[in-house]
């Protein structure tokens, strides 16, 4: 079974994002970009399925500007066999990404698409579900455990409000990875070297017949409301007094 793993290039999670001065977007110039952490987890899940002999090939895909090649090289160094870059604007919307992935699924015929649950830049949490809808496939979002069953089905445990839920889904399907699915490995130096020789194809949205024009107009990007904090109280008695008499919350 072939696995398709969509990976997004995002502002590194250690960096606090700031609006551009004119409010037209988020300041990214010169800042460190990394693979979306949830996609590292999805990638790790794919590698483990291949290591367990349950998958034959891993294809990593990214939709975005040319710089995304770097993220795809990371995916190749981690264990993807091939990579595909669909060159498009930086902020292609989840619906457009889902359509591009749908077209790639038609070409590649994977048995499973493993996405991250959420990109930590747009925090949309949409793409995997949208892709499953377009394909008419089953979906299992927020996965913390995946077990392929061999009879065209998979058991997936999902993190839901209140606890955990286990679904049986028909394959092919889309699964989105949550934080506790696994602990992703790091790419080793020899694998980083080897990754440079692995195939990385580049396509345009037009090659896939997909219109990626945005549906939403970004009106502005702004600072969230500021919070005034920072007061230190000397001891427990002072804290209780403040909570009772100043904040009046207890």
């Amino acid at each position: 079974m072939k696995l398709l793993v969509p990976v997004k290039r995002v502002l590194d999670y250690n960096i606090k994002a700031r609006p551009k001065a004119d409010g037209s977007g988020v300041e990214l110039a010169g800042l460190k970009m990394s693979m979306n952490p949830f996609d590292e987890i999805a990638m790790e899940a794919a590698i483990r399925l291949k290591e367990a002999g349950q998958a034959t090939e891993i294809v990593a895909v990214s939709c975005g500007p040319a710089g995304n090649q770097e993220t795809l090289r990371t995916a190749l160094a981690l264990g993807a066999d091939r990579a595909i870059l669909v060159t498009c604007e930086a902020d292609v919307e989840p619906l457009a990404v889902a359509k591009l992935l749908q077209a790639l699924v038609a070409r590649e015929q994977p048995g499973l698409v493993l996405c991250g649950k959420q990109a930590i830049d747009d925090d949309a949490n949409q793409t995997g579900q949208m892709l499953a809808a377009l394909l008419g496939w089953a979906q299992a979002t927020f996965a913390s455990r995946i077990e392929l069953q061999g009879d065209g089905a998979a058991l997936v445990t999902r993190e839901i409000d209140g606890g955990l839920e286990t679904l049986s889904i028909r394959l092919p399907a889309v699964i989105t990875a949550d934080l506790r699915l696994n602990e992703p490995r790091y790419a080793t130096l020899p694998n980083i070297m080897k990754a440079k020789k692995k195939p990385l194809d580049t396509l345009a949205p037009a090659d896939l017949g997909v219109d990626t024009a945005p549906r939403l107009a970004l009106v502005q990007v702004s600072e969230p409301p500021e919070r005034q904090g920072g007061l230190i109280v000397p001891d427990v008695a002072a804290l209780v007094d403040k909570l009772k008499n100043e904040a009046k919350v207890i």
């Binding site: 649950k117 925090d123 499953a132 979906q139 955990l164 049986s168 549906r215 919070r227 904090g229 919350v249």
Partner: protein, 310 residues
């Protein structure tokens, strides 16, 4: 304008968040219809008739809708949605699961996790773990919006009962089936709607100490318990305690962060709390910059003393 609000419920009662989603719907304006889809959920549909501002309750009752699976629900909503200008639901694990699927079936963009209605076609939402807010305008025929419940004050009281209209479900897609569900039983208030939240981080050091120190404090305050990702990953508490960018978003009257450093991903889930207290031994911990009251010191000493003093 006509709005369809999709209710989250467990076939017995609707979630408290529904009143917050209705508040967002009221901010948009127009006729508000409510969809109660489930199996054996008549009690929910009946109770929902009295929710203020609801002009009609549409009730779909079918075994195929019983476990809230995304495939069947998204298809049903996408069919009904063509009669509306907006579809709204909570940005909870439930809403996040099926709403994008319905959006794709409708070929519309989804606007996730809104915190403000700027105009009927314009909405503001946090991005980048809440470091930045973005305002988007949608030209889609149906605006599919998930709502951050804590950002909207719940509609209060009851109205005159709205009419109930049965909707027939569609055939089961058969794509997925719920095999089991393990909910954490708790007598505490629900994390997302609690008035007080006591939250613990890696600083607690173990599951035993998390329990021994924070449960008595939470008992005294009738608080819900929350946690940082590090506390969940370390196995101190179950996954659904996680507060943050990728966990739950809470905005209680009082949030007490114990042994939590205050990473941006954690702040994303609690920054809107009315009063924040931080207890941490590191005076440089970023949590103090958002805390109304900070207490620097060893949590092992401070927490029992605080519990005693309450």
């Amino acid at each position: 304008m006509s709005l369809l609000v999709v209710a989250e419920h467990d076939n017995h009662t609707f979630k408290a968040s529904l009143r917050h989603v209705l508040a967002a719907a009221r901010d948009i304006g127009g006729d508000i219809h409510l969809l109660v889809a489930g199996s054996g959920c008549e009690a929910v549909a009946q109770a929902a008739r009295a929710l203020p501002g609801v002009a009609c309750v549409r009730w779909a009752d079918d075994p195929a809708l019983g476990d809230g699976g995304a495939e069947n629900l998204a298809l049903l909503v996408s069919r009904l949605a063509r009669d509306y200008t907006h579809v709204l639901t909570a940005a909870s694990a439930f809403g996040k699961n099926w709403a994008p699927r319905a959006a794709a079936l409708l070929d519309v963009a989804q606007i996730s996790d809104i915190v403000r209605v700027d105009a009927p076609d314009t909405f503001t939402r946090p991005i980048y773990a809440g470091s930045v807010w973005a305002t988007y305008r949608s030209a889609d025929p149906v605006k599919l919006v998930t709502v951050r419940p804590t950002a909207f004050e719940a509609v209060a009281g009851d109205g005159a009962p709205a009419p109930l209209e049965a909707v027939s479900a569609l055939p089961d897609s058969g794509l997925s089936r719920r095999m089991s569900v393990a909910l954490n039983q708790s007598t505490r208030p629900e994390l997302e709607s609690a008035r007080v939240v006591v939250s613990g981080g890696r600083g607690l050091g173990s599951a035993e100490r998390f329990k021994a120190l924070l449960e008595p404090l939470a008992d005294k305050l009738q608080a819900a318990l929350g946690a940082s990702r590090a506390a969940v990953d370390s196995g101190y508490v179950p996954n659904d305690y996680q507060v943050g960018q990728t966990g739950k978003v809470v905005a209680p009257d009082l949030y007490i962060a114990v042994g939590i450093s205050g990473a941006i991903q954690h702040l994303a889930g609690m920054k809107a709390s009315r009063v924040i207290v931080a207890i941490n031994k590191d005076p440089e911990a970023p949590i103090f910059s958002v805390a109304d009251y900070g207490l620097v010191g060893d949590l092992n000493e401070i927490v029992p003393r605080l519990t005693d003093a309450l």
